[in-house]
Subunit: 211 residues, 2 copies
């Protein structure tokens, strides 16, 4: 690969500045939220000149995507023993991430912007969405190995069903927290797991396990 073929001489860009800018962006998101965040303020917080910031990012959208994408590095899916437990784990993990004020205010905003900016959409997909979708693939492979789910017939069907599951699970969590504005508590998570396991009838009448 040739990721850095142009410009191999001269003073290199400061990696410390990159880290400081992204950290300052997250801090500014917490303090000000998306709409009141200004690049001048971020530059001041990071201790760099505003021009330095503009040399590396085209604008607010790209900067915030990169700043928030780092939060998704910690996503993982250890084997919890069953499909239901795996689903519950990943849902709680995603909910905890969305509970952070910097993620809450930024994610929806950049997605909204991406509806009119195809390169931005691609950036979000590469650095955020695909990283989440990987967890679905891992969980589904495990469930197949356990015999909890039938093996997909063909790579195309496998990809389609994975996309569907991803949109349903991630979409439900996002909608619950940001649109309905309610907490992802145990009761809700168990209801969602029941729905995924057995469909609507299972969700409407949950097992009478808890009083």
């Amino acid at each position: 690969m040739a990721p850095r073929s142009p410009a191999r001489t001269g003073r290199p860009r400061s990696a410390a500045a990159d880290a400081a800018i992204l950290e300052a962006t997250r801090a500014a998101l917490v303090d000000l939220g998306w709409s009141k965040l200004t690049l001048g303020d971020v530059a001041t917080r990071a201790g760099v000149a505003k021009t330095t910031l503009y040399r590396r990012w085209a604008g607010k959208n790209e900067l915030v995507v990169d700043a928030v994408a780092a939060l998704f590095d910690e996503l993982e899916l250890p084997d919890r023993g069953s499909l239901a437990a795996d689903v519950e784990y990943v849902v709680r993990q995603f909910a905890a991430l969305l509970d952070r004020p910097e993620a809450k205010t930024a994610l929806m905003a950049v997605v909204a912007e991406s509806t009119r900016d195809e390169p931005l959409r691609a950036r979000i997909r590469d650095s955020i969405v695909d990283r989440q979708k990987r967890l679905v693939l891992v969980g589904r492979a495990r469930a197949e190995a356990r015999g909890e789910l039938p093996r997909a017939q063909g790579a195309q069907d496998a990809a389609r069903s994975a996309d569907l599951i991803f949109d349903v699970v991630a979409g439900a969590v996002v909608h619950r927290m940001l649109v309905s504005g309610q907490a992802v508590d145990s009761q809700w998570v168990h209801g969602l797991v029941a729905l995924l396991a057995g469909g609507l009838p299972s969700a409407v009448s949950p097992l009478p396990s808890d009083a």
Copy 2:
């Protein structure tokens, strides 16, 4: 009630101006998108003074919510004969709504803003979210009457499961279209309906009805 007790004399506000402003807002959303929309431009398009606009709406957020909320007036749920058909109908209807450029760019943006603005969240809930949720209640009541779903035991459980279903269905559609950026086509809708009917196993291995 006393909705208009203050100010009952003097020149009344022009209802035509209200309609023109909201229509101009939707047109501006189509042309410019959320981020580049300016109130001055909306005022010019509507043929009113900028000050008139500010006398009626506190800012961009509130104006856009009202402008987009009107799109949700046409939502309805005729009896399609079965739970699956009702779900498919409402999903397609919501997807068609989200396909409009003015809705696409505005809905996510105002939801993002609402994470740091509680009154705005309440306005969104009253004028948009609750209007969607009503369809879920209608569809569930019909399914119960048909015997497709067990009757909810207690009003609290009924409300909880309705909220869950709403977040799953609406969240899935929104996530599919705006985050994954893919179309809500027949294949996807049928997969979602299968998942809601029978859970993940049904979604992974769809009925071999189509070649």
